[in-house]
């Protein structure tokens, strides 16, 4: 019996196959550094004078969630690529099922149903779905030459199903993060750049058409108008108590940081606690205020470096599935970085999206750790493979 379990377990995970000499240590180091920085900020927020009054930032809870997520990192690290490849559809299906269940068993907060209540923390299936989509796309694309329309349709459908389910929660921000993952993986899988460009332009034109047709809800238009107006600082200041509340505070605290920042824990965002979601979606504004341009640009550059290194490692992988997964994870981190920071800097309309490794939130941590573990594991987990790309010259 024990042997059977060991055997089954052995088919799923393996520590022996990780080549530590080829392990992406710089990525791990950067990720650990960013995580430590994030933990420090959350800790300072929890200790700020405004916290007891305005509540919300729970460092202890964050630490506990991190401890829960850590095994997930290692699980991802030691999962066998072959098992992953075989069971990608299963994992994806599980994610879709969870998404389907959300409307029925999910907990409703602020008129949105995104969470499933678990004993220790609430699970947000849409976060896990992103990983599921990466795995499934890699599975679908690893033997897909993307030559015919049908070849293109399959990965699109794979992405569209969870995207629509997430958008219906409603959580348009999270749903849209799947778009760059899809586009990036299609490209990495050999999709024609021209075709992707045409697709992108078509999407933009369709979006513009929908906007012009009046099908867009007026509140969504209002959000876009607020965003456009937010480029003018006076307009943004005028709308500070209305629709521009969040954007205004994110901009104010970021701008208040100046070149060198106000010092850790010395920011007005922490002093007042007025910045919504300052420990999750808007943590970059707090970093911006307290570390200034110097510190924040370092964080962004390190983040970019981590993504770049992941891509570099992915590029060196012979196994197409692994390469696509690692590449997908890199795009996942890149998309989160770009969207999150852009939203807080006003480059994109306000939408709720975490900054992985920095933001609190159990599901986000879980997904981040799983993604990072998978990427690091797969990038150093050289199993013998006879896949399509195994004999290609690079």
């Amino acid at each position: 019996m024990i042997e059977a379990i060991r055997s089954t377990f052995g088919r799923i995970v393996s520590t022996g196959h990780v080549r530590w000499s080829e392990f992406a240590w710089p990525v791990l180091l950067i990720a650990a550094g960013l995580l430590a920085a994030g933990m420090t900020f959350v800790s300072v927020m929890a200790d700020s004078a405004s916290n007891p009054e305005l509540g919300g930032v729970d460092y202890e809870g964050h630490r506990q969630k991190l401890l829960v997520a850590l095994p997930v990192f290692f699980a991802g690290l030691f999962l066998r690529p072959s098992w992953l490849k075989r069971n990608a559809a299963l994992i994806y299906s599980a994610c879709v099922v969870l998404l389907v269940l959300v409307p029925f068993i999910g907990d409703e907060r602020n008129n949105a149903r995104r969470w499933i209540q678990l004993p220790k923390f609430d699970l947000q299936p849409s976060e896990l779905a992103k990983i599921g989509v990466i795995l499934m796309l890699a599975r679908v694309l690893h033997e897909n030459p993307l030559r015919t329309g049908r070849d293109w349709l399959k990965p699109m459908l794979v992405t569209a199903v969870p995207m629509l389910l997430v958008a219906a929660q409603p959580d348009l921000g999270t749903a849209l993060t799947m778009v760059p993952v899809l586009a990036g993986l299609l490209y990495l899988a050999g999709g024609s750049g021209r075709a992707l460009g045409v697709l992108g332009l078509t999407a933009v034109a369709a979006g513009f058409g929908i906007w012009q047709s009046g099908l867009v809800q007026s509140y969504q238009l209002e959000r876009i108008e607020t965003w456009v107006e937010s480029f003018d600082d006076r307009e943004l200041i005028e709308s500070r108590n209305g629709l521009g509340f969040h954007t205004y505070h994110a901009r104010t605290f970021t701008g208040n940081g100046g070149l060198y920042g106000r010092g850790l824990g010395e920011g007005v965002a922490n002093e007042t606690g007025l910045l919504p979601e300052r420990d999750s979606d808007s943590i970059i504004a707090v970093i911006g205020e307290e570390w200034g341009f110097a510190g924040t640009s370092l964080v962004i550059c390190l983040y970019g470096l981590m993504v770049g290194l992941l891509m570099f490692h992915a590029a060196g992988l012979r196994d197409r599935f692994s390469r696509l997964v690692v590449g997908g994870v890199a795009i996942y981190f890149a998309a989160h970085l770009f969207i999150n920071v852009s939203v807080n800097l006003g480059l994109l309309p306000m939408t709720g999206l975490t900054l992985p490794l920095f933001s609190t939130g159990g599901s986000s941590l879980l997904a981040t750790f799983l993604a990072l573990g998978l990427a690091l594991g797969l990038s150093s987990h050289h199993e013998r493979s006879l896949g399509g790309d195994a004999f290609r010259r690079y």
Binding site: I300, A315, A334
Partner: protein
């Protein structure tokens, strides 16, 4: 394969570069902007209210002052969380999905508390999924559905989960669980699987007590807290006796009313979020057409409650407040001419009307002190922005914005403004509808009134103005609602049925998203339930805050009358002291631009000195919330001295402190100056008490000198007296200045007999102006002017006091220029006051008897036109009394009716030849052509008593600054004064005209020199001769009613004080009315004590002083 990654890496690099560039832009380039904003977020400002100066009497005793008073407030959020009654009302409302009022919840609180605490978490869970709920007192059946999923869907739309969550919260509050115990309860339910245990059992497990003990404690607590509520209610001073009999029930009824108001406001807020405008902008029919089932469900209201809310909101637009806003907005700017301040009045009025309907009125008001020019107003509230808010058929924007009002007519817009004609062109149809069937002249007059209303910078509007504007607004509102109905109907697909117009789902969602915050916010707003609660009540709710959760005593500054008049909360001399008021609406509206400027300055990152100074100047010139200003009387006259300056301080955040951007502004509050009056509280009170109850007439035990009873007095005047009394020092310091009625009389409260009498009077008995300085009606001085004219004639016209000017006998033909046949003795047009005449009279006897014939002859023969005018003027008639000191034309509040009748011969600028012989006959007797106020008569007598005419002084000191006292030498020799004094001393003695009034030293304790006076006022009802107590039916309606006076000084030989009594509209002569009032006052303790006061050193006989001045000259 790297080939495929390279473009992605390049894209990544580009993205990072974009982010860094934007970061640089915000953090480095725009740093100043955002650093300023950040500093403002943590910077706050405080306004420290000043204390308005007190008003003190001559001895420094406080009459009125600012005091901290308490207001009892009710906070529904605290009550529902902390009081069992609130908790039970909430629990039952949540369970039954209808509002259960506090009164209903109070009927069976113990049973309800037991029923709900015996529920288990599993019961609530079942309820949340659509199952039944049995809480003993309330039973909610399971939701009817064909399948489990259908039931769950039904439960979801009925918000059962959310309601169950709230019910759990209130049950836990009812059980008084601490946060830690609540957490433990949650763990017991979730981890120990104890969800089937009742909340009481769970509380028992947590607290380690038996279930029965906990249940008993909850029940006892419910009872005790209810008793405490009754105890609180017993301490409330109820203004009315209406409502339930028990105090507890009345309090619950009151707070239930407040709770309903909170609910209404919550509904308003949610409606506004979803629809973008206030529900009061729609009438009831249009409100009913909109599907508001989401709102009903969000508030757990039933249809009845929803209907009540709709009714109250649907009729709220056109009310006096709204009319008041239009009028206030139509007034020109008080300070300078900016924006539309230079518009013509008619333009301003139309603009103010248009503003009431325009889109985003508050947005405009925040930026501009005046409404936008009506020519620019085309988009209207409700119709503007409704397009995106409705679900259903496409919204017809053109239909919504097509012309509705006449001011949208392009041709009219091109016309210049011509006030009334323009108003008629624009509002003609509305005016005609508001006042149907009138002539064009009437409409033009109405338009003129509206223009006048808009022109009037000072003062507020009258009820009839508001009525007219309300009618116009109502008609515009109706017209507007018809258009709204058309637009809604087209959106609903053609016909407008109740609930047929649906709001687009995202807007409902947006409203529902904020539901919790709105409920919390509105519930947390205090509602006033009582003013000036007793100190016991304040202590109760302050010390035992938890027991009286939901009640709060809040201190606020009030203007308090410390020295009150008889049986009233009004201060003594209330009409002279006046009242404070809130700033006029026009001031509040027009200072918004200043408030905006203040905010702009406060938000600046760096603050140069000139900006700091401007901040303080703006703080000084804008009224803070709750600040009072002088509204009338001395409170208004001395408003700038009584008002102080608010303190101001800036509280800086860490950022300002670290960066040292700006020097924090701090200025302490500067209290207003205290004002010390010349009035004496005791004397003033005595004067008011005397006037309020002047009778009985004649005084008890009184007989005439011949032993007969006085049958010529006026009983009815003493029952509803109208008159005034002034007591002053001969130096002009007013010690008492009282008039009645003290407060306006409500016709509603009068008996039938009183109303019957009132119908025969001039109606003054209902009104309460100050009558010591003002002169509501014609007010000739009558015979009290005789000594003054005599003194003038002795000094300036060579009158021989021993000469007999005319024989006063009814047997003799009447002399003078205009003789007439009469059975009365008389001279020319003037009858003598004694039918048979006084025979041969010299000056002394003429004054003693008040002989009209003598003074008619004096006026005609001795006086000429110029000298007669000069005589009146020299004694201060036609001139200000001096009470309104420091008059720079900007002060208001004190009204001194000193001018003569502008169409009379004594008016300033009237031709001197108008004072002809006949006029002089009248003026010699103080009749018909002269108008004086009571203070002027007191002043003239102070002059006559001392030979020097003082400026009357009501205010002795403002702060530390003494108000100067001035006296003007009349230039009358002491010898002539002595002649007059001797004659006036004899008036109250035997053979004098007031011999029967008991004003002799043996009756009042000191010698009084005085003169009585009566002047015909109007033809009216008088009692039959000799029957003062006759019923009204027996009155002679063709009789003559009079004003009567008594003016004099005391002590007679060494004048120190002057007294003037004025009796308005009486059938009796002065000796039988004013003399009795004077006697009653002079006998009061206050006057007797005054006479007992030692004479201040250096103050000898005024006549001696006058004689000395004469010698000096």
């Amino acid at each position: 394969m790297l080939r495929r990654f390279l473009p992605l890496l390049a894209l990544l690099a580009l993205s990072v570069a974009t982010l860094l560039a934007r970061l640089w832009d915000i953090q480095v380039v725009q740093h100043d902007v955002w650093a300023t904003e950040a500093a403002n977020i943590v910077r706050s400002y405080g306004i420290e209210p000043y204390r308005r100066g007190a008003i003190l009497d001559r001895d420094g005793e406080v009459i009125v002052r600012d005091e901290k008073r308490y207001v009892l407030e009710f906070i529904w959020r605290d009550f529902r969380r902390g009081h069992p009654l609130g908790q039970l009302a909430m629990l039952r409302s949540l369970a039954l999905a209808r509002p259960v009022g506090l009164d209903e919840a109070r009927r069976s609180p113990v049973r309800a508390a037991r029923g709900y605490t015996l529920l288990s978490p599993d019961d609530l869970e079942r309820f949340s999924l659509g199952g039944e709920l049995d809480a003993d007192v309330d039973y909610v059946p399971a939701m009817a559905a064909e399948s489990e999923s259908g039931r769950r869907e039904g439960a979801r739309s009925a918000r059962r989960r959310s309601r169950a969550g709230d019910m759990r919260f209130y049950i836990q509050r009812l059980l008084e669980l601490t946060p830690r115990e609540v957490k433990e309860l949650g763990e017991l339910v979730e981890e120990e699987d104890c969800g089937d245990l009742s909340f009481v059992q769970l509380a028992g497990l947590i607290k380690d007590e038996s279930t029965q003990d906990i249940l008993r404690r909850v029940e006892r607590d419910v009872e005790v807290r209810d008793e405490q509520l009754t105890r609180l209610a017993q301490l409330v001073e109820w203004e009315s006796t209406e409502g339930p009999a028990g105090e507890g029930d009345r309090l619950v009824e009151l707070i239930e009313e407040r709770r309903r108001a909170v609910d209404d406001e919550t509904a308003d807020a949610l409606f506004r979020i979803a629809l973008g405008f206030s529900p009061v902008r729609l009438n009831e029919a249009n409100l009913e057409a909109i599907d508001l089932s989401w709102l009903r469900s969000a508030l757990d209201w039933d249809r009845t409650r929803m209907g009540e809310w709709r009714r109250s909101r649907g009729t709220a637009f056109v009310n006096s407040t709204r009319a008041g806003f239009v009028i206030a907005r139509s007034k020109p700017l008080r300070e300078g001419v900016r924006d539309l301040g230079d518009q013509a009045a008619g333009d301003r009025f139309i603009s103010a009307l248009a503003h009431s309907f325009r889109a985003d009125p508050s947005g405009w008001e925040a930026r501009h002190p005046m409404p936008e020019d009506w020519r620019q107003v085309d988009r209207f509230q409700v119709l503007d922005g409704l397009a995106g808010r409705l679900a259903g058929a496409p919204f017809d924007e053109a239909q919504a914005q097509a012309g509705i009002f006449s001011f949208q007519d392009e041709r009219l817009r091109d016309l210049g403004s011509r006030d009334e004609p323009m108003l008629l062109a624009l509002l003609g149809d509305l005016l005609a509808a508001a006042r149907p069937g009138e002539s064009p002249e009437v409409y033009a007059a109405l338009a003129g009134e509206l223009v006048g209303l808009a022109r009037n910078v000072r003062g507020e509007w009258q009820a009839e103005d508001a009525e007219l504007v309300e009618a116009l607004l109502g008609l515009m509102h109706d017209r507007f609602q018809r258009r709204v109905a058309e637009v809604l109907a087209s959106s609903a697909g053609g016909t407008l049925e109740p609930g047929s117009v649906r709001v687009a789902a995202p807007w409902i969602e947006r409203a529902l998203e904020t539901r919790r915050y709105v409920v919390r916010d509105r519930g947390a707003r205090p509602k006033k339930v009582g003013q000036d609660p007793s100190i016991d009540l304040v202590l109760l709710v302050t010390r035992y805050r938890e027991e009286f959760a939901g009640f709060r005593a809040r201190a606020q500054t009030s203007r308090v009358a410390v020295a009150t008049t008889v049986d009233s909360e009004q201060p003594v001399a209330s009409k002279l002291i006046g009242k404070v008021r809130s700033p006029f609406l026009v001031d509040v509206l027009q200072q918004r631009a200043k408030a905006e400027r203040l905010i702009d300055l406060q938000r600046k990152r760096r603050l140069p000195e000139e900006d700091a100074a401007e901040i303080l100047a703006l703080v000084d010139s804008t009224r803070r919330a709750g600040e009072t200003v002088g509204g009338s009387g001395l409170e208004a006259w001395l408003d700038r001295e009584l008002s102080g300056k608010s303190g101001y301080h800036e509280i800086q955040g860490l950022q300002d402190r670290v960066e040292g951007n700006r020097t924090p502004i701090y200025r302490g509050a500067q209290d207003g100056l205290d004002v010390t009056l010349t009035l004496d509280i005791d004397l003033q009170r005595a004067a008011e008490a005397t006037l309020l109850d002047p009778g009985p007439f004649p005084p008890e035990g009184h007989t005439n000198l011949d032993g007969s009873t006085d049958l010529r007095c006026d009983e009815r005047w003493s029952e509803s007296p109208v008159g005034a009394l002034v007591l002053a020092t001969v130096e002009g310091d007013v010690l008492a200045a009282a008039s009645v009625p003290i407060a306006p009389v409500d016709r509603e409260g009068l008996s039938g007999a009183a109303l019957a009498w009132l119908a025969l009077t001039d109606g003054e008995a209902l009104k309460a102006p100050d009558r010591t300085l003002t002169r509501p009606k014609a007010q000739p001085p009558g015979s009290v002017v005789k000594p003054l004219l005599a003194a003038y004639a002795l000094q300036h016209l060579g009158l021989d006091p021993n000469e007999v000017l005319q024989v006063c006998d009814d047997d003799l033909p009447r002399g003078g220029t205009s003789p007439k046949k009469s059975s009365f003795a008389g001279y020319g047009q003037i009858n003598c006051n004694y039918q048979y005449g006084h025979q041969e009279v010299d000056l002394h006897r003429a004054l003693q008897k008040s002989c009209n014939v003598y003074f008619a002859a004096l006026g005609e023969r001795v006086y000429g036109p110029a000298s007669m005018r000069d005589a009146y003027r020299s004694f201060g008639f036609g001139e200000p009394t001096g009470i309104r000191f420091d008059d720079d034309g900007l002060r208001s509040g004190l009204v001194d009716s000193y001018r003569m009748n502008p169409s009379g011969p004594l008016a300033a600028g009237a031709p001197v030849e108008g004072v002809n012989e006949v006029v002089r006959q009248f003026l010699g007797n103080g009749l018909a052509h002269a108008d004086v106020n009571v203070m002027q008569v007191a002043r003239a007598y102070a002059g006559l008593a001392t030979g020097a005419l003082p400026r009357m002084r009501l205010v002795r000191r403002v702060g530390d600054l003494e108000v100067p006292s001035e006296r003007l030498d009349l230039g009358i020799s002491s010898e002539h004064l002595a002649t007059i004094h001797e004659a006036l001393g004899s008036v109250v003695r035997k053979y004098g005209s007031a011999q029967d009034a008991w004003l002799t030293p043996d009756r009042i304790g000191f010698k009084l020199a005085a003169k009585t006076g009566s002047a015909d006022y109007r033809e009216g009802a008088v009692p039959p001769s000799g029957v003062p107590w006759a019923p009204i039916e027996d009155y002679n309606e063709k009789g003559m009613r009079k004003h009567t006076w008594l003016a004099g000084w005391f002590p007679a030989e060494e004048p120190r004080f002057v007294i003037t009594v004025y009796v308005h509209d009486t059938s009796a002569t002065a000796s039988h009315s004013a003399a009795y009032v004077a006697r009653k006052f002079l006998l009061t303790d206050a006057v007797q004590d005054l006479m007992a006061e030692p004479v201040p050193s250096g103050q000898g006989s005024a006549v001696e002083a006058s004689a000395k001045r004469g010698r000096d000259r």
